[in-house]
């Protein structure tokens, strides 16, 4: 396909910073979205540190009860709506067109409008801190009737609702652009079953966004109307309806925050094992089923309400085990017989699979209504979802960062600093979240700003606070690594890891229309690996001919 760059006749050409922020190049948009998400990650991390400081010992008065409510609400909201989910979309916007050999994103203007809508949402949500009465304070799920105008008055909560609407609408638009790109812009030869593993994980994630996020926009609009005298979520039925509608978005988003990082970790494992991803077709089928099932489990968050049919949701929640098991089987299959190189990206990927396993296994327990009745509202749930969301997503994210940073910037990250970061984050994560299982088992409730003196609770909480500090050190190490690596650049070259997929067939960083040289023939989901094998075979044949 030949390209004609639009000479913007009648429209002035934009250069400099204006050109950068208005660019419709998917790589620019991906980097902008990623950098903004990372800023929100740091902000959400500061909120977490403040919360952990408050909980370090029993009966602390570091922040007020109201401020604590704001902190845990804004921590969860910032991490979910403004970091992990948009970062998954940022990776899709940057990498998916490269991986499928496309020169650009479909509907780039729509994507850019979505990016700015999302950013406005983030800023509006954080604006709540400056409102009288403070920021949103009813948790990231903002259950009605707690979040209605009578129980939680104030502009801060309104700003939270509006911020969520904007952020969700922006992400929805960007996700639709990614799906359209995969549907319409694959390179010649790139059939669906030749798409890379990461692209498949992004495709199902973006489909989940398209299917589930309209519900979030709808429920937040209804909540806004309810807060301003609409009386929509009233009585017991209203409360249950709110939860039903919210969790219809709220559970799929957990997987939107998991699949892309699973894909990133899978790419890192395959490339660093110098092997094809094992069981590709089984993986593709399992990820489709996994994604669909994860849109049919949402009411397991509501077992204790007595307002839902537990049997159906217990069945679908437990069924998630099957596709999850296939993915772990594929990882092990890829590692067996591989020529493994333990680079930082590989170590983060392995840590991702191991850490997520703890979250997944604890998920089996809480998928059972009988056990969930015991665990509900305790720190067991906090431990479970932090092992899935933090340990799962973040370790996969860093695997992706160490894997693709050279492609994005043209410079290598420092391996030693990367390994130090991994060590700090591994120790910090387990020190912070593992004791929560014991605290929860001992009955410590979640969402409390202070707890009474109780044997063992003080020590475990102190350990968790130390762990949170160690995670913060790990993140600072990463930022230092990025700073040093960009300041004193070690050129990466086009393909430093002997990659398998098409993004490694272009320059680092890629040119405006992605590929200047013709694409290699695409005969499988690892075209560069095919090419390398063909070259080796040809060289061997030549050597044999010469010898004979």
């Amino acid at each position: 396909m030949s390209m004609a760059t639009a000479r913007t006749a009648g429209v002035p050409r934009m250069t400099g910073w204006l050109g950068a922020v208005t660019s419709t190049d998917h790589k620019r948009m991906g980097v902008t979205l990623g950098v903004c998400s990372l800023f929100f990650f740091l902000l959400g991390g500061v909120f977490a540190l403040l919360m952990r400081t408050q909980l370090a010992q029993s009966n602390m008065h570091f922040v007020s009860d109201n401020s604590y409510n704001e902190l845990f609400t804004m921590h969860g909201s910032t991490m979910i709506y403004l970091f992990v989910t948009p970062m998954a979309i940022a990776m899709a916007v940057y990498l998916v067109p490269l991986q499928i050999g496309a020169t650009r994103l479909s509907a780039p203007r729509l994507c850019l409008a979505g990016l700015w809508t999302w950013l406005c949402g983030g800023l509006v949500m954080q604006q709540g801190w400056f409102a009288s009465g403070g920021a949103g304070r009813t948790g990231w799920s903002s259950y009605a009737p707690l979040s209605n105008g009578t129980n939680t008055p104030g502009v801060g909560q309104d700003l939270w609702v509006i911020g969520v609407i904007l952020a969700a609408a922006g992400m929805l638009v960007m996700a639709a652009c990614v799906v359209a790109t995969i549907a319409r812009r694959r390179a010649p030869g790139m059939s669906l079953l030749r798409m890379p593993v990461f692209t498949w994980t992004e495709l199902v994630s973006m489909l989940m966004v398209v299917g589930a996020f309209p519900m979030l926009v709808l429920v937040m609009i209804l909540l806004y109307i309810d807060r301003h005298g609409g009386h929509i979520f009233t009585g017991f039925a209203g409360a249950i309806d709110y939860q039903d509608l919210f969790w219809f978005f709220g559970h799929p988003v957990v997987y939107v925050m998991f699949f892309p990082y699973l894909g990133a970790a899978a790419e890192a494992v395959a490339v660093n094992s110098h092997k094809r991803w094992f069981g590709y077709i089984a993986f593709v089928i399992s990820i489709m089923v996994f994604a669909a099932l994860s849109m049919a489990v949402w009411s397991h968050h509501m077992y204790v309400t007595g307002g839902v049919t537990n049997q159906y949701f217990a069945f679908t929640s437990t069924a998630l085990l099957v596709p999850a098991g296939i993915e772990y089987f594929d990882v092990v299959g890829t590692l067996i017989g591989g020529s493994i190189v333990l680079r930082t990206s590989m170590l983060f990927a392995l840590a991702f699979f191991l850490q997520f396993l703890i979250g997944g296994l604890s998920g089996i327990f809480v998928a059972s209504p009988v056990l969930d009745y015991q665990a509900y509202g305790t720190y067991i749930i906090v431990a479970h979802f932090h092992y899935t969301l933090f340990a799962g997503s973040i370790f996969g994210f860093f695997a992706g960062v160490y894997h693709w940073f050279p492609k994005i910037t043209g410079a290598l990250l420092r391996e030693r600093l990367g390994k130090l970061q991994l060590l700090l984050m591994l120790v910090g994560t387990n020190l912070t979240f593992f004791p929560m299982f014991f605290l929860g088992n001992d009955g410590m409730p979640r969402r409390v700003s202070r707890y009474p003196t109780h044997p063992g609770w003080g020590t475990l909480n102190e350990l968790e606070t130390i762990g949170a500090g160690i995670i913060a050190l790990g993140v600072l190490t990463f930022l230092f690594n990025v700073f040093v690596s960009l300041r004193r650049r070690v050129p990466a070259g086009d393909d430093p890891w002997l990659g398998h997929t098409l993004e490694w067939a272009t320059t680092s960083p890629p040119p405006p229309l992605n590929f200047e040289a013709p694409l290699p023939p695409i005969r499988s989901y690892a075209p560069l690996l095919d090419l390398r094998h063909e070259q080796i075979d040809r060289a061997r044949q030549r050597a044999e001919l010469t010898a004979s």
Binding site: A4, R7, R186, V289
Partner: protein, 134 residues
């Protein structure tokens, strides 16, 4: 382009099976409606991709396309639309003038978008004309 609608429609079908299970097993209307709504959205999306190009449900790898394509480099209009929506909604809770400003910015941005699209079409037509010249 070939096959682009297949994963969307296939995934919609898996969702449909689960939504039917929900209707049968679960007695809550809101729950069934939510699941059915998602199925409808995914099917509509798949249908839109299919209608955009008829080969979207044909199997096999995409083929090379020869016609030139215009690529927008930047869009102030898109940024304006994003900002205007944010501004207008922010104005709902914070200050009325932001709502008015947001609406005005939205109208200006849509106007600018029309200019951008016109310029893009003109440049594509010019390239086509140039390529057809002997």
């Amino acid at each position: 382009m070939r096959g682009g609608a297949i994963p969307i429609l296939s995934w919609g079908t898996i969702l449909l099976v689960l939504a039917v299970g929900n209707w049968v097993w679960n007695d809550r209307t809101v729950s069934g409606l939510a699941a059915s709504g998602a199925v409808a959205i995914i099917y509509l999306f798949g249908l839109a991709v299919w209608l955009a190009r008829r080969d979207a449900i044909r199997r096999g790898p995409p083929e090379a396309r020869a016609e030139p394509e215009s690529v927008p480099q930047a869009s102030l209009a898109a940024v304006g639309i994003g900002l205007s929506v944010g501004c207008a909604l922010f104005g709902l809770a914070w200050a009325k003038f932001l709502l008015d400003f947001g609406i005005a910015l939205f109208i200006v941005s849509v106007g600018r978008l029309a200019l951008e699209i016109r310029a893009e079409r003109a440049s594509r037509a010019a390239v086509l004309e140039e390529s057809e010249r002997p």
